[in-house]
Symmetry: C2
Subunit: 114 residues, 2 copies
């Protein structure tokens, strides 16, 4: 029995990235910190909606924010991104290595004929 | 205005990866092709549920399957994984490069003092 229920953080992380508005926010923050209203501006969604998306991104360690005075500044926190990226990369490269080995075996089998 | 609605395929791909059963299926397939019942066995979910998850994985180009006789064999198709991985990596490295540049500027400012 696979322990396939373990990493709930990956559930949250991938679900967070499945929303185009949240990806647009991450995209913006990859270029530098931004206030909530700077994040909202290009998205044409309400400020409360942006705050909800922000809460989702914070819950999976992709963004953290800090309020100084009346301005909340958001910043990318690459930990969450790195987790999800590593998960995908590990499966992709395992498969590609498998294909490479298969290719090598086929090449070896061809050689005596040539 | 950001064109944040464009890559619907990323929506589907990240949503697909947000489910632990589907991640377990990808995990299994990274080690080699498998039949649907081989995929179902460690998951303790019904065969129809596995077929539904499989349809989701096929719809975002993470898995393809082929039926020969009565057996449907599934295989990883790394295209979908690579897309999502590249998206995450691009944002993460943009942010890390930004931090590196910031670090370099701070180091330069420190040097005259030392």
């Amino acid at each position: 029995m696979l322990n396939y229920k373990a990493p709930a953080s990956l559930d949250r992380m991938f679900a967070a990235m499945a929303d185009p508005a949240r990806r647009a926010m991450v995209d913006r923050l990859a270029r530098g910190p931004a206030s909530v209203s700077e994040l909202a501006r290009p998205l044409s969604i309400s400020l409360p909606a942006v705050l909800q998306h922000l809460a989702v991104l914070e819950s999976c360690s992709v963004v953290h924010s800090e309020k100084v005075g009346r301005v909340r500044t958001c910043q990318l926190d690459p930990a969450g991104l790195r987790n999800a990226e590593a998960w995908l990369q590990h499966r992709r490269t395992a498969w590609e290595r498998r294909l490479d080995r298969l290719g090598a075996v086929l090449d070896e089998q061809k050689e005596p004929e040539s």
